[in-house]
Symmetry: C4
Subunit: 203 residues, 4 copies
């Protein structure tokens, strides 16, 4: 059960590379307009950043939190620690568990963070052009989709940002077991994953 | 069974980052004034430092033992190797397994070592203000408490000490599975844990 | 099942240290001229490099892909991810999973890559000279063979190549569990393995 | 079964940090003069170094093999790979698996290598002075013994040797699960272990 922070406390200041998120309960259920049966109901994954930690140091470099307070964010499914504060469910989360910033009500507008890319999964009929060949391979089947947004890049040891090798608009092959799946308002499927899980660019 | 050091030996000199501790058997049972049933009896965790090793080297830096001989210390529950010397039970212990120095008979006065913080666990009634909400989350429930003492800080690779981001007097959220639990003379609960297990500061 | 890349895509550009390989299906079965029963049938392990990634950076050094497009290669048995493109089975593969380049139809001409060496396994009769001694040892039994080709060498952190300590023509002792086995046209056995799995040179 | 190196080969040149050892079969059984029942029979652990590899490089430093060809050595029980060469059982061994050099027929004269120390286990009666106290501790019981020889020291990353903190003649406490046990000609017990497994010096 979530532990309860007694009302006399007015603020929670997360430490290090953590952020405090007020969970957006209600709207989630209708995210993407489809009421999923409770079993498959995707756990609430959205909320507002209400406080950020002081960041962390890698070697000699101090790295601040890049997400501003007040940002509406989407985070990885099983991340964070739940806390109830002023009768509202909050989550204490590592910054790296934030998938992206969402300024609208439709997931398609997600702005991925760090080294993540956001992909619109190719429509079913494209995938079965020519039909699926059942080869004896047990190898992991890659999926196809279009990159609709990319993060700023990944941090190296000295805190320098290296831009991602993938750009918006490219059609890509990716390993679908690595990402966070989402359903858009118009019913189409999206996936957010790390750039290193994108295998190739189709053109 | 503890091995026995024959009486003809007059001293034991621990090596490297080890210390030799004379275990304080009797007083333990009444530590905090409550006689626990033997099963739940907290193993003896206190004693006096009778000898220290020459310290260790990290890279080019020689790092001495910070605990002086004669100090009364509290150590982690399952740490060390038992030795009987002059018919008294001793323990050979790594310095990092020492939780703190205790100069009084009440655990509340514990002075934590290295990167550890000492927390007084919030009284029960504070925690159930508003009642516990049973959410379907299986996430680990953090606890609340007040920091009553902090260690000097943690050593980096070059042996430099970085002060802790937590200070005495703050009310904090922490993950309770990481610490060493103690009961004070007045029956209140205390926990000693690493600063990195403190998640947030409440104010 | 291999996923299908819809016909409207004309090219697949692999990312990072990956290469795209068109799998050579048919010829595999007669590689080495012996039709293996399908169970023991060695999985197809050959093909043509049709596209290469932009390489990777180790620390500050950019390391390009050393295999040119168009090269006929042999790769490790369970490596890569299968993709069907223009109705032909392709594989997306990490460069390090390529065993060597094969410009003829007989495996004996394999040119090993990176830190790999290619060995012709000593004929059976040589091995039983004097009969096998069944010692109570359960230690791993090394095998004997002749080095017929060596790779350019292994890359260190700065991308510098260190030549291998083994040269063509030497007879060597190696641990046989580490390699990829092949059968040549003339029925003799070959093995490709990392230089570090070669234990000694016989002379 | 040990693999057999056909007679036409006249020499085996180990690679890297490996050495080739001719196993001393017969004498082993009477090492220390007691015929152990075959089950407890200590596996042969002695032999003569007949060839050494070219050494290895750590970072920029080339580190040669310190053991000369012709040296009589004792090695760790389950180390190495067995090879039969000219009808004599040999072993290919990593240098670090060599416990020490033995120039006489009695194990007590063992000269430990690298960071190892050689200890004569304290006689039984010394250990039970005052009787064994059966405390409820499940902690690992240390043993007592006298250091009769120490290795030159351990190599750091730059190949520099740091002398060991233990010297010959000291009585020490050590964790007995870490060593290689031996029985001397006079029936007394010896143990070779790494200096880091010596916990304290008794005086």
């Amino acid at each position: 059960a979530a532990s309860v922070v007694a009302p006399k406390y007015t603020s929670i200041k997360p430490l290090g590379d953590r952020v405090l998120v007020k969970i957006k309960e209600a709207e989630e259920k209708t995210l993407g307009g489809i009421l999923l049966p409770s079993t498959a109901q995707s756990k609430p994954q959205g909320g507002e950043v209400v406080a950020v930690g002081e960041g962390r140091t890698i070697g000699k470099n101090k790295i601040d939190i890049t997400v501003p307070t007040g940002a509406q964010i989407i985070y990885s499914k099983y991340a964070g620690t739940e806390v109830e504060f002023n009768d509202v469910k909050h989550l204490i989360l590592k910054e790296d568990d934030i998938v992206g910033i969402l300024e609208t009500e439709d997931i398609k507008d997600l702005k991925p963070l760090n080294d993540r890319v956001f992909i619109k999964v190719a429509e079913a009929e494209e995938k079965t052009a020519g039909g699926l060949l059942l080869t004896e391979t047990t190898k992991e089947k890659p999926s196809i989709g279009t990159v609709i947004a990319v993060g700023p890049g990944s941090l190296d040891e000295e805190g320098k940002i290296t831009p991602l090798p993938v750009s918006t608009g490219s059609t890509v092959l990716y390993s679908k077991y690595a990402g966070n799946d989402f359903k858009g308002k118009d019913g189409s499927n999206y996936i957010a994953l790390r750039a290193s899980d994108v295998m190739a660019i189709l053109s």
